[in-house]
């Protein structure tokens, strides 16, 4: 495990680039470039800025530098029987801690254990002026100042280069089991609504033509919950969830298709859209795969359900990926970007269609 503090170098690079008005493309392991896109300008790598700075299992808090491999963090947590509650996707062996937070993507456990931003407690960043700033901290409760740390999650590095991020971690459940049911989506939707209101120790609900339910907790609670659900169940391997998280599940394998992500209320009934569906997060995250969907129809469908959509993967570099934000919100985004990065040098162009 390497540990090296590259903060001064990274801040210096941003500072010089700011003075010259030269755009910088912040680069970690590159595992999520398909999602975030690639900013303009010279690459600035965070890969040498590595190491777990602080980890105290009894505090449930971990702090690591942005270039630290995600796999290393997960391995260290596992040694103490802990985990990242948001179950982040890696999307490749190179996934880094910084990229995980900057992209803000969470896995199947998210509705029950919280998202990346929910777990974030504090961060150190370099803003677009090259200043090193610290926000939040290593404690669970902290309402001092605006919550800049959580704002960084999902901002794709456009508001600041992440140096260090502290998160709340969770104990690994003692026992986990996955049940599987043959049913239509209509029936699956009804069951997911019922289970969602049941208080059973659920940590995953998905539908891919079959319905999957993951239960986790103390052994007697998990087996009691499975008994209560009853019916015609079959247990399947937990590997189903990692396939879902990493998109190695067969549903995602058709390379030529576009993959849309719709984030909607879990019980939402969506209008017709052409393509195949896979449902995660108990209905709150829906994947639509196909070549025919019209972007404006997908955006409108998600919006009318109270949610939003984005094109998650595509082979078409000219495709429209993001729904433009309403004008007052878009203007606020531009002002906010300017507040952190006035010369607009950090990952320029990544949100282009949105604001």
């Amino acid at each position: 495990m390497r540990s090296q503090d590259d903060s001064e170098y990274l801040a210096g690079q941003v500072s010089e680039a700011c003075a010259r008005g030269e755009p910088l493309r912040i680069q970690g392991g590159g595992s999520k470039r398909f999602y975030a896109g690639s900013g303009e300008g010279r690459a600035l790598s965070t890969l040498a800025h590595t190491g777990i700075v602080h980890y105290e299992p009894t505090e449930l808090v971990l702090t690591a530098r942005s270039g630290t491999p995600l796999a290393e963090i997960e391995a260290v947590l596992a040694e103490s029987g802990q985990m990242l509650g948001f179950e982040p996707p890696h999307f490749g062996p190179g996934a880094t801690w910084g990229g995980t937070v900057a992209c803000g993507l969470s896995g199947p456990r998210r509705p029950w254990a919280g998202s990346v931003r929910d777990a974030v407690l504090g961060c150190r960043i370099v803003n677009g002026r090259g200043e090193m700033l610290a926000f939040g901290g290593q404690v669970m409760k902290n309402v001092a100042g605006f919550d800049v740390s959580r704002l960084m999650s999902g901002a794709l590095g456009t508001l600041g280069l992440l140096l260090e991020i502290s998160v709340k971690v969770l104990p690994k459940p003692e026992c986990e089991t996955t049940l599987c049911f043959e049913c239509s989506f209509a029936e699956g939707r009804e069951r997911m609504i019922r289970w969602g209101r049941s208080g059973l120790p659920v940590t995953g609900m998905a539908w891919d033509g079959r319905l999957y339910l993951r239960l986790a907790g103390p052994e007697q609670a998990v087996s009691a919950a499975a008994r209560r659900i009853g019916g015609d169940v079959q247990e399947v391997a937990g590997a189903f969830w990692s396939g879902l998280r990493e998109q190695t599940h067969g549903f995602f394998s058709t390379a030529d298709d576009d993959l849309w992500r719709l984030s909607v209320p879990p019980a939402a009934r969506l209008g017709e859209l052409p393509g195949a569906w896979l449902i995660d997060w108990g209905g709150a995250q829906r994947w639509l795969r196909g070549a025919e969907a019209d972007p404006s129809a997908v955006f409108a469908t998600a919006r009318s359900a109270g949610g939003h959509a984005r094109l998650f993967r595509t082979e078409n570099s000219a495709a429209v990926r993001l729904d433009p934000l309403p004008p007052p919100l878009a203007a606020l985004h531009r002002r906010l970007k300017a507040a952190f990065d006035p010369a607009e040098i950090l990952n320029r162009g990544l949100w282009q269609e949105a604001f």
Binding site: E56, P57, T58, E59, G104, P111, G114, R117, D118, E131, M132, A134, F135, G137, V139, M140, K141, N142, V143, A144, G145, F146, D147, R150, L151, G154, L159, L170, P171, K172, E174, G196, R197, G199, P201, G217, P218, Q220, A221, A224, A225, P265, P266, A267, A268, A284, A305, G306, G307, D323, L325, P326, P328, L329, H333, R335, L336, A338, A339, F355
Partner: protein
């Protein structure tokens, strides 16, 4: 203060063009009830107060204020402890009390859509028939409103397991000072664009006026059980708390009280607390019956290994409530044994607890003021209660100085100056200890992106550099001045 825009008479005339007479308060006796929030040591009469009851009216109040450069302070129930909703003498106090309707309980999606003036507890009451509830439970939940909860990012005794307000709010609709309506977040589990919802939580009314909130509802736990463990030393109690977390437990509630608080609460509520103990730990598990059973058994074992002198387990709901009655009454109980008390709200890394309590004890001796300690042990949020008597000249000032030293200590050990009560006007000085000039400047820039003229809740939450410079003159942090680059006066 000299006003650049309209005078009071002209401003009132313009308000009357879109607000009914009863929604405008301008006489001193009508303004008196708004002179402070729950930080009652600081009072000031607002310039005017308005009580609109439609979003359109709020929008027009904001536009008018923006046009005439009049400050605006939004307020819900005014239960905040840090002065976040205290009025300003040259500004409009915008009460959202009339926005008290629950708009929708959607059980299938487990969402409640409510107006900002709805009381925290009212949401859970409305959701209860569906077997659902709203998890964050600040101690003022009977009275405090959801708009204020979002503005303060309120906590509660259950936030180790269920999170703070920010973790339980899905969408906030707010009006900017220019009267633009913005929707932050979505009814799904995340929103498009930057996570402005996270920024709105805890922004203390500086960024916009909240007009609607959608919150996440959770299934009511099937059952709950509580352990009460007595310890001979605070250190042992602290070790036991670390032991519980280290053993993989995530209790629904995990609280600690020291001996002073314990005696005060026992005398007040007669919960049967072991008053000889140096500290007690309350540990609650909730959920499915089998889960609670397993967790309680595990927790008992951990508490015993960590030397608990006694561990009691609630046999029924009545006893569980009794265990909690003392903890929930801790503040008023301490209020009975002292003329006045000053509640501090710092957060510390839990492993530093014994050290911090030791140093608070030393400070208490040095200032000659007793301090009781109540601790949200699971999440490191410490509430030292400083006992004083305001009728003794200089004692309030001594209590405040002691409070500031305690908060400085919290920052020094890696914690924060406010865990859940907010900065308001009360903790502006401690903010200068926690943040340096570059961070403060970044806060100003963020604020300006929302409110360029600085009209929303001015003078709260984020101190000016001038204030920090002035404060820095007397407070030296870690042997160094925090703002050496600034001129001192």
């Amino acid at each position: 203060m000299e006003r650049r825009g309209a005078g009071r008479t002209e401003f009132l005339r313009e308000l009357r063009s879109f607000l009914p007479e009863a929604a405008i308060l301008s006489e001193p006796e009508d303004l008196k009830p708004f002179e402070c929030d729950a930080l009652s040591a600081y009072t000031v009469l607002p310039w005017l107060a308005v009580l609109p009851d439609t979003i359109e009216q709020v929008r027009m109040v904001l536009r008018l204020s923006h046009e005439h450069e009049v400050p605006v302070v939004a307020r819900g129930a005014g239960t905040g402890l840090s002065g976040g909703a205290s009025p300003v003498a040259n500004g409009v106090l915008l009460s959202l009390a009339k926005f008290n309707r629950i708009l929708e309980i959607d059980p299938a999606n487990r969402i409640a859509r409510v107006q900002p003036g709805v009381r925290n507890l009212a949401i859970s009451e409305a959701a209860a028939p569906f077997g659902l509830y709203y998890a964050p439970d600040p101690s003022s939940q009977v009275a405090c409103t959801i708009g204020g909860n979002v503005a303060e990012n309120s906590g509660g005794v259950h936030c180790l397991k269920y999170g703070l307000t920010v973790h339980n709010v899905l969408q906030v609709t707010l009006l900017t000072i220019e009267g633009e309506l913005l929707t932050l977040g979505s009814l799904g589990l995340d929103g498009p664009g930057y996570d402005l919802l996270a920024v709105a939580n805890g922004s203390e009314g500086l960024l916009g006026v909240i007009v609607e909130v959608a919150v996440k509802l959770l299934p009511l736990p099937e059952t709950a059980r509580t352990l009460l463990a007595a310890f001979d030393s605070v250190e042992a109690a602290g070790e036991a708390v670390a032991g519980l977390i280290g053993a993989g437990l995530l209790p629904a509630g995990l609280e600690m009280m020291d001996n002073l608080t314990l005696r005060a609460t026992e005398a007040f509520v007669h919960a049967g607390y072991p008053v000889e103990a140096a500290a007690v730990v309350l540990c609650e598990s909730d959920g499915m019956a089998e889960q609670v059973e397993a967790e309680i058994a595990k927790a008992r074992a951990v508490l015993a290994t960590h030397g608990a002198a006694e561990v009691r387990e609630s046999r029924d709901e009545a006893e569980r409530r009794k265990f909690w009655a003392g903890r929930k009454a801790a503040f008023p109980a301490v209020g009975r044994i002292a003329a006045d008390y000053y509640c501090i709200d710092g957060t510390i890394p839990r492993r530093r607890l014994a050290e911090v309590l030791g140093r608070i004890g030393e400070l208490s001796d040095r200032y000659g003021l007793a301090v009781g300690n109540v601790f949200h042990a699971g999440d490191g949020n410490l509430h030292p209660l400083i006992l004083y008597d305001a009728s003794h000249p200089g004692e309030l000032e001594r209590a405040e100085a002691l409070g500031e030293e305690i908060l400085t200590l919290c920052v020094e050990v890696g914690g924060t100056v406010t865990g859940e009560h907010g900065v308001g006007i009360e903790k502006l000085n401690p903010m200068c200890i926690q943040f340096g000039v570059p961070e403060l400047r970044q806060f100003y820039a963020l604020k300006a992106a929302f409110d360029a003229k600085g009209l929303l809740n001015p003078g709260k939450a984020v101190p000016t550099l001038a204030r920090c410079a002035e404060f820095g003159q007397v407070h030296v942090h870690g042997g160094r001045l925090r703002h050496p680059e600034l001129e001192r006066f």
